[in-house]
Amino acid sequence: MKKTIITVVGKDAVGIIAKVCTYLADNQINVEDISQTIIQGYFNMMMIVDAGESSKSSVEMVNDLEKMGDEIGVKIRCQHEDIFNKMHRI
């Protein structure tokens, strides 16, 4: 199953990971890996998730998470892993 990459970029605040993870759990999306770093003062998180069991389509996930990001005040992107695999692997 192809993975989806969720990235969260923005000002650090309490509960960002909790909110995203709650959404994922509610929709049967499994988190396989999380990494986090601070780049130029900004909170930067990447999750690799498997949405194979979820009833949400990719497009719905993209829209839901983007909306959630707007509410929290961070930028949440949700992208198919192949865009990164193709660009960075031969």
Binding site: N44, H80, H88
Partner: protein, 454 residues
């Protein structure tokens, strides 16, 4: 597995450096639409286009969302209409009805341009070819989304100078027919030498007769990404400069290849090619001129510009070829003056002239593109410029093209606004000496000696 730094790099390219896929262009053959009755022909054309491309725009949008990379344009190219309309069209007026049908089909499928109102006359013109060519001014002034092109020469056939002569008049008539709209018709009309069959970029896209029934071609972009990468190697030698461009071009092209394969699979239409052209837009930070200036030129047009462009073009190809299974189309850096803010600035600064642009077209695709010239430029002069560009293409075995806009009522010192992706441009000075007797000779320029390879 991907790591956070790679993910950040890609997303930074998309968000800050304007990485995008410039166009998904669906090529559709209309040869099976031929009929001797004009109404039936028009109906066949409309039905085939709207049937084949009905999902193009929605599939494009889905891919955009799922991969998080913008796909700026979704477009259609069709078989050159001079071939399709031949049986039914007895006059230029008949051909115009097909242009209107294409426009209607483009609107129905929600694509922003449809290309292929074209004729291929590199050696000679049939009556149909001539009728179509003579209909171009009216076709472009009575439609919105139709793009037209004419191929007037090739390395194999030489240059059809009768067609070149006619082109000067057609460009002028098109400018006149659309003078209330900044002579915009000319922005949708391009004259080629060595036109490729699989070009996804407008205005010159058409679905060549060597192609299958339908095909997906993709044009990538990314001048901003290349410019940004070069900011990191200021002062370094040419080896490092070239390696940096090559690696960046690889990444940009991979995104295009992915989108092309995905679109092809979802639409159930074979993947044709990825076009590696670096295509600028009028927005700041998306400019080919800025890349050249980043290499160390004070302003584009300065000595060194042609060399800088040559290496840019070559490295983009070297990086891009490995990233895609099929490369085609134009595949070179575009220099559309009105669509590249850096080029516009250079013209305004006085560093970039038409003559220098002509020299630059020897080392890159595609030609003198989107250049606004005084509205009173003579048809013979326009033909002369077309002949010069065609000669560069013919001798160098490459595609060259001319898309000049003689803006009616404007002169050097004025500006013209086309809007959107077509941008805006200062009116540029054209050499004031004539070439009428040369153009009026008529006939053909023979194929060059190096075309005889058999």
């Amino acid at each position: 597995m991907v790591n956070i730094f790679e993910v950040n790099e890609t997303n930074k390219m998309i968000e800050q450096e304007k990485l995008d896929v410039r166009t998904i262009t669906m090529g559709i053959s209309l040869l099976d639409c031929c009929d001797s009755d004009l109404d039936t022909l028009n109906k066949n054309i409309y039905d085939k286009i709207t049937r084949t491309a009905k999902d193009l725009v929605t599939v494009g949008r889905d891919i955009e969302l799922e991969y998080g990379i913008p796909i700026v344009n979704k477009r259609i190219s069709v078989t050159p209409i001079s071939l399709v309309g031949g049986c039914a069209c007895k006059s230029p007026k008949d051909f115009v009805t097909i242009a209107k049908t294409l426009d209607k089909a483009a609107k129905a499928t929600n694509v922003n341009f449809i290309g292929g109102y074209s004729a291929l006359v590199s050696k000679g013109m049939t009556k149909n070819d001539e009728d179509l060519i003579r209909s171009i001014p009216q076709a472009l002034s009575s439609t919105e989304r139709v793009c037209s092109s004419v191929n007037i020469g090739s390395t194999k056939t030489g240059i059809n100078m009768d067609a070149v002569k006619l082109m000067g008049n057609i460009v002028k008539e098109t400018a006149e027919a659309t003078k209330d709209n900044s002579s915009m018709g000319c922005a949708k009309f391009v004259v080629f030498c060595n036109a490729p069959d699989d070009n996804p970029f407008m205005a010159g896209a058409f679905h060549g007769v060597t192609e299958g029934d339908a095909v997906i071609n993709v044009g990538v972009s990314g001048p901003g990404v290349v410019k940004h990468a070069l900011e990191g190697v200021r002062g370094e030698n040419f080896e490092i400069l070239c390696e940096t461009i090559k690696k960046t071009a690889f990444k940009v092209t991979r995104a295009g290849q992915l989108v092309a394969q995905e679109a092809s699979e979802r639409l159930g239409i074979p993947f044709g090619i990825v076009d590696l052209s670096l295509a600028p837009t009028p927005s700041v930070g998306d400019s080919v001129a800025e890349i050249l200036e980043e290499m160390g030129l004070e302003s584009v047009g300065a000595p060194g510009t042609t060399a800088a462009l040559a290496l840019l073009n070559d490295q983009v190809k070297k990086g891009g070829v490995m990233a895609s299974s099929f490369v085609g189309g134009l595949s070179g850096a575009f220099l559309p003056v009105s669509e590249d803010q850096g080029m516009i600035d250079a013209v305004n600064r006085g560093s970039l002239t038409i003559e220098k642009l002509e020299a630059m077209t020897c080392v890159c695709s595609v030609g003198l593109d989107m250049i606004a010239i005084p509205g009173n430029t003579s048809a013979a002069t326009i033909s002369g410029i077309i002949a010069d560009e065609a000669a560069i293409g013919m001798i160098n075995q490459k595609t060259t093209a001319v898309r000049l806009i003689p803006v009616i009522g404007k002169d050097v010192g004025d500006n013209v606004e086309f809007g959107g992706l077509l941008g805006h441009a200062p009116i540029q000075q054209v050499n004031r000496f004539g070439c009428e007797d040369f153009i009026n000779r008529g006939g053909r320029i023979p194929a060059p000696i190096h075309s005889f390879k058999n």
